[in-house]
Symmetry: C2
Subunit: 329 residues, 2 copies
Amino acid sequence: MAPATLKDVAKRCGVSLATASRALNNRSEVSPVTRAKVLKAAEEMGYVPSSLAKGLWSGETKVIGVLITTIVNPFYANVVSGIEKALKDYGYNILLCSSYEEVDQEWASLTVLLEQRVDGLILAPVQSKPEVVERLQKNNVPFVLVGRSIPGIDTSYVVCDDYKVGLMAGEHLLERGHKRVLFINSSRNYSAELRLKGFTATMQRHGIEIGPEWVKIVTPEKTAKHCLSEALDQGLNPSAVFCFCDCMVLDVLSALKERGLKVPGDIAVMGVDNLSVTEITEPPLTTIDIQNFEMGIRSAEIILRKLQKPGAKHEHIVLQPTLVKRDST
Amino acid sequence: MAPATLKDVAKRCGVSLATASRALNNRSEVSPVTRAKVLKAAEEMGYVPSSLAKGLWSGETKVIGVLITTIVNPFYANVVSGIEKALKDYGYNILLCSSYEEVDQEWASLTVLLEQRVDGLILAPVQSKPEVVERLQKNNVPFVLVGRSIPGIDTSYVVCDDYKVGLMAGEHLLERGHKRVLFINSSRNYSAELRLKGFTATMQRHGIEIGPEWVKIVTPEKTAKHCLSEALDQGLNPSAVFCFCDCMVLDVLSALKERGLKVPGDIAVMGVDNLSVTEITEPPLTTIDIQNFEMGIRSAEIILRKLQKPGAKHEHIVLQPTLVKRDST
DNA sequence: TAATTAACCGTAAACGTTTACGTGTTAAGT
DNA sequence: ACTTAACACGTAAACGTTTACGGTTAATTA
């Protein structure tokens, strides 16, 4: 009951494998009448060519690996959607893997993607360490980092200007009079570092030191909600919370609700990503738009270019963030 | 610069292909010293076995195709996340395709998935027509429908009790005194039909006829926002809107905001899916929980069982919806 | 008429694995 | 000293494609 093969089709028409293959691939060396016969037989038998065999022969699978933290985060859903859109017209498909922000899981996913011989790879690396990238370079597979780059290593990447993100958040919150700001950050990746740097530098320029107790880090075990609770229980009394991404803001928002704290009356909050939900929360959320969908598009386009010209230079795309002022600050 | 093959590894160790293969697969017919030599060489050369070749030989790819409408809808993001979780421990991976609710796109994606020789398929069919399912049956690939079944055809599926969803919505809205309810529905799939039936039957039981002008259908070209505008411009004056899913509710919500209509004061709204955002919108949204994540888990489990016992009976899982009363009604 | 060419088609090798089968060596049993 | 068994390893076929190469026929040219 295995699927019909080219051999089956050929046999049924009484032609050779080669002829059947040529007929199906619209090559000229086959007579019109034979071609029609083969096409008809293939159609009737529900013949679907095997990408495995084709890939083994041609060395390309028409599959692009995508490795993100989790598709449940709408930021990545948007990125993946952008990737999908850009790849569709070129016949490429997506093999999706998630790291859940865990190094081991990322490594394992990478193994899978390499085994599947993906033609290219788009990934948001978990850490800002070189191992993962070195592995890809060693395996000679075209790849692009998306959302996060890695300092000191030359790769293609599509990111936003993360330092500026931190800077914009700092300036905005200062403008609104906030001096005690809790920063709930993501773990270990370079974007998180840059946003923190941009933020602290800006606050410092206005004479405000951000001590380590004002920076909490979300991990797979410790949600943004936990971070907030921890801060409040430590008696920190922030007047505003700045989160690495809108997802964390949503988490914080429900925590504040539970505690009966009003936003922005008792405490202000803002995030990054400009997820569509931020328009319709109560209150609508101030956030920073970093062009999620566009990031997906651009990274896919880079991969497509790399596939066309294998020797091409690395491309570095830095998208500009824009502040979206709403009512939560 | 192609990736190292088993042949390369074997040559470097001065052993045959067969021995190298056996060493890497931990078979007993190879001496400890040879095995160590092979493993070391493979490690050094960054050898990664080709799933293509392995798949061609074994007939299984360790890949499950997932065909949904779009990953941007958090409902499907949750479903996919559930699938991923259930598959992970068994070494299966996800090839993701989107139909965007278009029949042609669905058909094309299916071709790709069959070409890739996925071991199994989880899909949310666009229409409640048999073509797609017949194709899969003809190609003899195990599959499960998720979220939507197809009437009159025996397949495995994981759905919620859609008739009951419609019924619950109807009863809840009646209870809140709404008699003029606009139903913004999804297009052409059986779940949409069932929810509509459950809804209209319930309203009818209370003496309220739902004329066709009270049912609007969202298509790729016509968003929920359009549907609402159309209804209001037709002078329909609904006191409540029931949407096929929360995504549509969010869309409606922003449309109402633009028009300056208050929820639930001027008009009530409710949806289905219990997306996490519905807790924190203003107002928090009444919705119906249909266990999104669980749907993913269950459908993946069915596929896993089918892969173990190819001859097994179809499984039909109907999850129970629960009404989540919040402030939008 | 003989030689050339075009049109069509088949044979076989290759892609990277796995395993059935065969072969040679050594150790144990008679 | 001869048989047997166990062990370690190699050879080759198979999975489903594509294409280089060669061959046969018929049509064209000299």
